[in-house]
Each structure stands twice: as C-alpha cells, then as structure tokens.
C-alpha cells in the first residue's frame, strides 16, 4: 500500500513533453489576433531624450500602435520589487544601454521590426558610469535623479543605492591580537543568466481585466505589480506562467511586462513580445562586485576576524539587487566561527543593465574573496588549506552568525567527503594543482506557500501549486510527496502550476525554497486529506477516530490495514465527489532582523578542483571537479544530481570564460551567443563528481533542505586555489581566462 516515492529517482513529471517537443513554453503559445511588439532603444548607455518622432513608424501599413512615455498615464508609473524606480518606459532620459524609449505593435514581427527602425529618436548622449570606481568617484554624476529616491534616503545624493552593515565582536581589538593579517581586493565579473529560452510576455485584455502570459518565476509578484501600475484589483489581473526554459534568477521580477500590459489595453488586442537573446542580455544580469577583505588569523590557523567592504555594482534601477547585496554579504564571513566580523556592503548604481537575482544570490561574489584570502592565510602560516577550513568550520548547532539559525548540518562530513574524492594531499604531476573551498547560502528568510491537493474519485490526484518549474523539477518532487502520503502511484498524479486564477498564492520561486516551503504546503494538504479519510474510516467501520491512524497511504484500524485510496473510494457515495486538502508552508519574518528573518536552512557546499595549466598558453583543463552538498534528504537523487552538476558547470563558466565588456558609450559589446561564451559539452571537467550528504536534518518534508544553488557557490575560489597551487601565483580577478593566467605566470603576480 505504501509507495516508496521519497528518495526514488523518478523520471521528471513533464519530462515526456520535454523530449517530444510538446512542452508549451511562452513563445509556443498561440493567441489569436495578436500584435507583435518591438522595442526601440538608443545606442548608448546614458542620454537625454530631446524628441521622439513616431509618425513614420505609425504610417507604415500594418502598424497598429506606437507608444512612448507621452502615451502612458502621467506621471509614468514606476515599479520594482525594492524601490519603485523603474519607469514603464524611459521618461526623458535613458539610463542604460537597452532601456526602451518607444515600442511598436504591428500585425507581423517583420513589420514591427521595420517600424521600430523608423522611430526617430533625437537624443543627447551623456557620459555613463559602468564601474564601481567611476560610480563612487567624488565628482561622479548621479545615476538616479534624487526625485525618484525615497524622500528620507540619506544616500539620495550619492550613487550608493544602499549601505548595509553587519557584524559582531570587536574587529580592531581582534586585529591588534591577530598573528597575521591578509588584505586583498577581489573582483567578480559582470555575467548574465543566459536562459536558453528568451524572455517574453503576451498580454491581452480580458473583459474588464487583463491576462498576461509571461516567462516569470514569481507569477504572484508580477500580478501584484501589474495590479498596482494598472490600477486594477488583483482579481482582474490573471498571470499565466508556463514552465520556464531556464530562469536562474533572471526571470524573477518584471521588466517589460507592465509596458506590454499598457500596450494591450491601449490597442484593445493581445500583444506579444519575445525578446531576442541580445535584449535579454540587456534586461538582466548578475551583480558584479569589488570586494576588499582583511582577514586576521592566529598562528594555529583559527580565524580572529574578517573585515569586509563589498561594493556590488547594480544597474540603473534597483530591481531585486539590493536584496542580493544584503543577503549575499550577510554570510560574507562564511560558514566559520569567527569571533569578530565587520561587513559593509553597498549597492552601487551604474548605467548598466539592471542587475537582478542569479543562482547563488551574491554568495559567489563574496565566497570568491573570502576563500582565496583564507588560502593566503594558510599558505603564509604553513597550514594545510583543508585543515584551516576544518579548524574554523561551524559544527552542528553552532550559532556562527550570532542571533541567527545555527549550523543545520554536519558540514565537516561534507568537507571531508570532498577532500577524499579529490585525493587531497596526494602527489600531483607538474603544472597541476588542487583547490578546495566552502560556502553556505542562507535559504529563504521569509516565505509563504499554499497548496491544494485533490484526491479524485478514481484514486488519482492533482496537486495545485504556485511554484514555477524552470528545470529544478518542482513538479516531480510535489508529485512524489503526494504519492507518498496518499499512496497514489506517480503515474496517477498530476501537478497544476503557473496560473494565478487557478492555483493558490505562492510568494515566489527563489532561494531554493520550493521543496521546503511548497513541499511542506503539499505535505500539509495531504495531511488534511488524511484527516478526512480518518473520519470516513470511522464512519464506515464504526471505529472511534482515536483508534485510527492514517499515514503514507495506509489507514490503520484496530483489526486491519486498508489503503487510503480504497477507504476514500468507499467513502464517496453515488454522487461521486472528491477530497480537497489545503496546506500551507510558512516562514515568518523576525522583527529587527537585518534580513527581516532568520535562515530557513543553509545550502552548504564544498567544491574541490584539480586543474592542469598549460604553461605555454595559460589554458586550464579541469581534470576533476568534486562538488558535495548537504541536502538533508534528496527527495529525487537524479534531479538533485542534475541541479548540482549544472550549478557546478555554470560556476565554471563564470570562473573561466564569462564577462560583459563595455565600450566607451557604455554599451555591452559582447551581446549574444557568439561573443559571450558559456560552457558547452567541450568545456566540461574531464571528471565531474557530485555527491550529497543526507542526515535528514533539514526543515522540509522528510528532512530535506533546498539544493539548487549550493554547487555554484564556491567554484571560483576552488578553481582559483587550484590554479595558484599549479602556478604559484594568486589571481584575484575573474574570469581565469588563458590570457589572465598566462600573464600571471609571466609576471609572477
């Protein structure tokens, strides 16, 4: 009767559609009478718009609508998850290369593209800031007009969007007593999510409301933002979020959706905008960073203090980047017991594409600096680099960040396993090196997810969930939880997602939260049904409810065991019917907490890399890449491996080849797939090993923790350490391109 669904590597729910081409992504959805939208931009990062002449574009046959800021409600609404700073369309000025100044809707894509070229924008190009140093220079102009900053914002007259201060202990006192202090500056490049599915949006008038299909990780947040800018009640704004062709954080928050919504309402017809890959590069990216770090240690290798100043370069609008800055830096001192910590973390505005969430959410940027610096300490003290980590690593239940969730795993097991798998300490051939690094990322600090589960009359079941499945496999995991609890086989499970008019509220799909928070909601919805089955069994068999238990598909009566499904069927009369269960998963805010809440769990990872450096060219060959994560419990090991393998390789892309290049106009020069390289099947480590530690110590169903980001967190420092081990020189900028490695070898620094 019990189905051992948990811990089983079921094929992906929705997998058949993905291998047959039947999966309907946004761009595959056909909407009748739809107009095609093309955006108009200017070829520089910062400009004053003098005039926009749309007459030639509007006169082109087949063009139905051309909009500029003048055609929208005044003042033009602004929106954003953090600050309402981004206008629906550029108003009077352009603040980054790619910001739309006008948009055309036409009967065909070709006409829309032709019309967009006919929009005449007269503009005055202004100098742009695209680096941390330029933005923070004393004479730098302001990226954001103080008028759009919060009225009481003390930083409004600067290019700092925010400054966060975290820490504990007395850093200066600890510095006076440290035996060694290592101080360096590290840079993390500007990289982009590069989902293979282009971003897109279809918006259509729907009676006195609107329906919007979009590539969006947070359909309920998009619904809320649209309702606000359109002045509509939530009930009249329906967001449909088809499964995503990759998100990686880049599809969390709206950018062009409000514009599309206004255009649909103005045209009185559906409109459709599917971005080009180049436009996606201009719409979303990861925060780049410049991190200055001072690490103090005692002779025995124990950490005395960490003193960190992080400047994260965000874009012209804050999007969710300020949260990346605060959350990514909150754990900048790492998963270690450090007696004194001082962290100053700034979000620095610039005339660059808006930085938003990306896998790892600020942790890779700080882990790069901290772990490289810790190796400097180990090497200077003559302590093994593995040993210094084990010495300082937080042990189970240590409150390594005072006042926050204690260490929720036996992390030393993770580190020791990674060391074993990389043959730590074994001799290496010439030009080869090993590195090891650790990092922890805080899971969600607040969260709210509802689920509805319906056990149908024939013993099949449907899970309703507002989570977005973008490849992480949430559908499969939710089906497994319900299969386990209701005793319904996987082939009789359906999972419905991605429609705010159909599924109940889910705050968001981010921070590797869904298995834990939505998983708990699904589990609780099944428990609700189990309770109903208990009442039914009591009525059917004349037994007191207290004498009956229902668990994992089985109804236990004093004298017999029955399946949940058979009791459920017996309990339904001639009219048929079904059982509807409701469940919630919740993580409450903590008033006064620097992140508004404690960590629901930590994603802890240890990455160890063995690399070979070509002494002639600086080219790297990753001989072995080991990634070990603490998952608590892997509900679907095959999917967990997919997440870990994928995050590891994505991390190698960041560490070895990816970065935006700007020209003198503040334009991104390497937009698109030709000039911006990501890993292919030819760039893989010769051996990639991902393993998981499972002690059932997570807060999610069956002891699970979130898993999707861990394996990207400390790839860069593990690789950087391996390269240093091979060539004897530390490189503190990324990516570790052949040229950079070759120069380091040549210059010896």
């Amino acid at each position: 009767m019990t189905i051992e669904a948990i811990g089983t590597s079921y094929a992906r729910t929705g997998g058949l559609e993905r291998v047959t081409g039947a999966q309907q992504y946004l761009a595959d959805i056909k909407v009748n009478d739809v107009l095609q939208v093309k955006l108009v931009t200017v070829p520089c990062a910062r400009a004053r718009i003098i005039s926009i002449d749309t007459s030639a574009a509007a006169a082109l046959p087949g063009v139905r609508l051309v909009v500029t800021a003048d055609d929208l409600p005044q003042p033009v609404p602004r929106f954003g998850p953090h600050a309402e700073d981004r206008p629906v369309i550029a108003v009077g000025r352009v603040n980054y290369h790619g910001e739309p100044v006008a948009a055309v809707a036409a009967e065909t894509k070709e006409i829309a593209e032709a019309a967009a070229r006919l929009v005449e924008v007269e503009y005055e190009e202004l100098p742009a800031v695209v680096t941390v140093d330029a933005a923070l220079a004393p004479d730098a102009f302001l990226v954001q007009d103080p008028a759009i900053r919060r009225p009481d914002d003390p930083l409004a007259e600067t290019n700092m969007f925010s400054e966060h201060r975290f820490g504990w202990g007395e850093v200066e006192a600890a510095a006076a007593e440290a035996d060694l202090i290592v101080e360096n500056t590290y840079e993390y490049p500007m990289v982009t999510q590069f989902a293979i599915e282009p971003h897109g949006c279809i918006a259509a008038p729907d009676g006195d409301g609107i329906v919007v299909w979009s590539t969006i990780q947070h359909p309920f947040q998009l619904q809320k933002i649209l309702a606000k800018v359109l002045g509509m009640p939530l009930a009249k704004v329906r967001v449909i979020a088809p499964d995503l062709g990759g998100g990686f954080g880049g599809k969390q928050w709206p950018n062009v959706q409000p514009l599309c919504a206004f255009m649909a309402l103005k045209a009185g017809r559906p409109v459709r905008l599917v971005m080009t890959l180049e436009e996606a590069f201009q719409a979303v990216r990861r925060t780049s960073a410049k991190v200055h770090i001072r690490t103090g240690v005692k002779k025995d290798g124990s950490l005395a203090f960490e003193d960190i100043v992080s400047n994260f370069l965000v874009g012209a609008y804050a999007d969710i980047a300020d949260r990346v800055v605060s959350k990514g830096n909150y754990l900048a001192a790492g998963p270690y017991n450090v007696p004194a910590v001082r962290i100053i973390a700034r979000g620095v505005l610039s005339n660059t594409p808006p930085a938003t969430a990306m896998r790892g959410f600020g942790v890779p940027e700080t882990a790069w600096a901290r772990e490289m610096n810790l190796d400097d300490c180990a090497l200077a003290l003559g302590i093994d680099r593995l040993e210094i980590r084990l010495r300082n690593l937080a042990r189970y239940q240590d409150e390594f960040v005072p006042g926050d969730t204690p260490a929720d795993g036996r992390w030393e097991q993770t580190v020791q396993r990674a060391a074993e798998l990389i043959d730590w300490g074994e001799p290496l051939p010439p030009n080869c090196g090993r590195g090891i690094a650790v990092a922890a990322k805080s899971g969600p600090t607040t969260g709210l997810s509802y689920s509805i589960v319906r056990l149908l009359g024939d013993g099949s079941a449907i899970v309703f969930s507002g989570t977005s499945d973008m490849g992480q496999g949430a559908r499969t995991v939710f089906a497994q939880i319900a299969a386990e609890e209701l005793g319904v086989p996987m082939e009789k499970m359906a999972v419905v997602m991605g429609d705010t008019a159909v599924v109940p509220y889910d705050q968001q799909t981010s921070a590797s939260r869904s298995t834990v928070l939505m998983g708990t909601a699904v589990l609780n919805a099944c428990r609700d049904i189990q309770g109903q089955i208990r009442s039914v069994a009591s009525r059917l068999y004349g037994v007191d409810e207290e004498a009956i238990t229902v668990d994992r598909g089985v109804v236990r009566l004093p004298d017999k065991e029955l399946s949940v499904v058979e009791v459920a069927k017996a309990g339904l009369g001639k009219m048929g019917g079904e059982y509807v269960g409701k469940g919630m998963g919740r993580k409450d805010a903590v008033p006064g907490h620097p992140l508004q809440g404690t960590a629901a769990f930590f994603e802890f990872n240890c990455t160890a890399i063995e690399v070979q450096v070509d002494p002639g060219t600086g080219e790297l060959t990753v001989l072995r890449h080991v990634t070990v994560g603490d998952t608590g419990k892997s509900l679907n090991p095959m999917q967990v491996r997919g997440q870990d393998d994928g995050a590891a390789i994505q991390g190698l892309g960041h560490a070895m080849m990816e970065h935006y290049i700007f020209d003198e106009h503040g334009r991104v020069r390497n937009l698109g797939a030709i000039d911006y390289r990501i890993p292919t099947s030819k760039d893989l480590p010769l051996e990639l090993i991902s393993e998981q530690i499972e002690n059932g110590d997570g807060p999610g169903p069956y002891g699970a923790k979130g898993v999707s980001e861990g394996a990207i967190l400390c790839v860069a420092p593990a690789l950087g350490a391996a390269v240093r081990d091979a060539i004897g020189v530390a490189i503190r900028d990324l990516p570790l391109s052949p040229e950079r490695v070759w120069r380091a070898m040549r210059d010896g620094k």
């Binding site: 006409i111 990686f248 890959l277 095959m638 393998d645 893989l684």
Partner: protein, 158 residues
C-alpha cells in the same frame, strides 16, 4: 515583403506544398507556418543549437537556413522522432537519465544526438561531446545528456 515561394518538402514523413514568404527561415517555417513549435528559437545566429533539425540526413541550424533552401528536402524535427506515438529509444533514454531539466534545449540536443547515431551507432563519450558541442544547455545537464546518448546507442546497436 510579399514575395512568396511555392515550397514542396517533406516534414516528418508528411509532404507539404505551401507558399512561404521568401524571407522565412526554415525555423520560421516550421514554427510559424506549420505550427511545429517543438523546434526552439534562441540565438538566431547558429550558435546555440536550440533550432537543430535534420535535413536530408544532416543536422542543421534551422535558423540559418532559408525555408526555400529546403525545397525538395526531407526534414525531421523533434516531433518526428517518436515511433508509433511512443518515444524512441533516444527520447526514452533522455527521460530515464534525467537529461531534460528545463527542457528548452532538449529538442536540439535530441536532433544532434539522432544525427550522430545515424552516422555513428557506437559513439564514445568524446564523440557525443563533439557532436553536441553546438547545443548549449544553460542548465548544463551535459553529463546526463551524454549518458543518455550512450545508453540509447547501446540499446539500439549493442
């Protein structure tokens, strides 16, 4: 933009005789004119491989080929892989090995893999990496994709 061409070709075993706009790529034709949306569009410059199809036995990026160039050709898309409505061994292997994560690149990966197995029924892992090097997967499920291709080859031609 009104120039049209009378195209005559076979897609997944079915003959089509249609007038297509001369500027339509094979990708546009498949997706917009035939409604076969299994073939995906991403970079449109022949770098990502999401639009890979098989034309007369050879894999091509359908974004780089005009529809008119496929006149008289036999085209196979991901929709044409299934046999009697059931996934073929390659598709089955992709399912069983967890190769599809978000799934967006998978039609292209499958077509490149199908093209490889047509030419080389006993590939090594290195052969698979080489043949699929033009198919980007940002989920980076390359390991599980390679395992699936090797398993399918073993099943079809042991």
């Amino acid at each position: 933009m009104s120039d049209r061409f009378p195209l005559d070709l076979t897609v997944n075993g079915q003959r089509h005789q249609v007038d297509v706009p001369v500027y339509h790529t094979l990708l546009d034709f498949l997706r917009d004119d035939l409604g076969l949306t299994g073939t995906k569009e991403c970079c449109v410059v022949g770098e990502c491989g999401a639009c890979t199809v098989i034309v007369d036995g050879r894999t091509v990026n359908s974004c780089l080929m005009l529809a008119v160039e496929a006149d008289g050709c036999e085209v196979i898309t991901v929709e044409g892989l299934a046999v009697d409505g059931k996934p073929n061994p390659l598709q089955r292997a992709f399912l069983d090995h967890g190769s599809a994560q978000c799934g967006f690149c998978i039609p292209g990966q499958l077509m490149s893999a199908q093209g490889l197995l047509m030419e080389n029924p006993h590939p090594t892992a290195e052969d698979v990496h080489e043949a699929l090097a033009g198919n980007l997967c940002r989920c980076a499920g390359y390991e599980q994709i390679t395992e699936a291709v090797l398993a399918a080859a073993e099943e079809v031609a042991p």
